[in-house]
């Protein structure tokens, strides 16, 4: 009954659709709070990295290198079992939020750093020469300009974060992938491989595809705008 065209298998998946939706909810919840944590970590470390203060930049560098050069699965196991053995049971969802927040925080930090570094030095200097302090410089002048460079790769991070909730399977998660796998291997529900995986994939796709399309549309419109203002600038030069 595992066949793609087995009506019975499709029927079973349909019967258990609520389970899949619960998995999706768990995935969405983990992803949402994980994202918030990743943004906080990423923005703080991105600012550290570009602060010009060596100790802060060093902290950011070490964090990013350690996190980016070890597998997220290992980080998840480590966190889960390390916490469990120190009698700090925080639950599966929180483990997922923490791990994904920490992991994607490193990538968000790099995105923020690159965005800030893409702004010409003169902008920092003009702001400093007017008497803007660090926060004022960032808030009024640098971040509004780097946001368009930061946004597209940031959306990709969000999509990756949603997909990475599947890592929770290794610690017995309640996310969509874990739910799907438990379903196809379950005693009562087992066997309906193809339909279950198709549904699970479809649910991921429905959530992630609009996000990544948004990112690419954003990129295209930003490029267009840059071309347009460039043209304007050139034609203005010709007029003078």
């Amino acid at each position: 009954m595992s066949g793609l065209f087995s009506a019975e298998a499709w029927n079973k998946v349909w019967l258990y659709r609520g389970t899949f939706l619960l998995g999706l909810e768990s995935t969405a919840l983990t992803a949402l709070f994980g994202l918030i944590l990743a943004l906080v970590i990423g923005i703080v470390l991105g600012l550290f990295a570009t602060s010009g203060k060596k100790p802060l930049a060093f902290v950011a560098r070490v964090y990013v290198e350690v996190i980016q050069n070890t597998p997220v699965l290992l980080q998840m196991c480590f966190l889960y079992y390390a916490l469990a053995f120190s009698d700090l049971s925080i639950g599966i969802i929180n483990t997922g939020i923490l791990t994904l927040g920490i992991y994607h925080g490193a990538y968000v930090a790099e995105v923020v750093r690159a965005g800030i570094e893409s702004i010409p030095r003169g902008q920092f200097e003009a702001a400093a020469s007017q008497g803007f302090g660090y926060l004022g410089r960032m808030y009024y002048i640098i971040l509004p300009q780097s946001i368009k460079i930061i946004l597209p790769p940031m959306v990709n991070q969000v999509v990756n974060l949603i997909k990475n909730t599947s890592c929770l399977y290794i610690v017995g998660g309640t996310d969509l992938i874990s739910v799907t796998y438990n379903f196809v291997t379950g005693e009562n529900t087992g066997g309906a491989y193809a339909p279950a995986y198709i549904l699970s994939g479809l649910l991921f796709f429905i959530v992630c595809c609009p996000l990544s399309s948004l990112a690419s549309m954003w990129e295209i419109s930003l490029k267009k705008r840059d071309v347009r203002s460039g043209q304007k600038a050139r034609s203005a030069e010709r007029m003078v």
């Binding site: 007017q130 008497g131 002048i141 300009q145 304007k232 600038a233 203005a236």
Partner: protein, 241 residues
Amino acid sequence: MIKLEHVDKYFGDLHVLKDINLEVKEGEKLVIIGPSGSGKSTTVRCMNFLETPSSGHVYIDGEELTHHNKTKLVRRTTSMVFQQFNLYPHMTVLRNLTLAPMKLHHKSKKEAEELAYHYLDVVGLRDKAHVYPTTLSGGQQQRIAIARALCAQTRIILFDEPTSALDPETIQEVLDVMIKLAKENITMVVVTHEMGFARQVADRIVFMADGEILEEGTPDAFFENPSNERLKQFLGKIIRK
């Protein structure tokens, strides 16, 4: 008004400023000239701590400029005009002009805009208030940058090669604005290669080479009978046109 005392600056092993002592008086128009790489930009950038001296002291209005007080002291006393204009490209001209007055000098929006329009009139670009800087020519952008500096209403304006990045045909419009300003009681420190401007506007000219001040004097003394050999060479090369 501004005083540099035994200022040295190193970039790595490069000794770019060698024991610079320089005092700018209130209302004075000081022009710094010299070949590129002579440290003139670094000198003027030390005056608002865009560069921190490796050793020595900088005083503004008798108060020593330090890392601790630089943001507030600079905000109150100096403005700067850059070679590359450095207008904020994500803001309209008007917003470029009103940002610091509103956020740093606690002016109301109305006051800040009145101020902005006043100085847009001074630089002759009132009609550009609502466009974005990138749509303007280099000369226009620099005039806006000067208006932005004026909006802070500081008594000192530092100019770091304000015409060096401009097309030849737009240089004069910027110089004209600066000549107009020079008639006011603003203290101006100008790094430039424009000898005609220096001659017309400067109260005093400083010649730098290899990180040192080699000669200081009134424009007349400077151009009529330069005594320093390096200065003669430099003037010979640059005045040829």
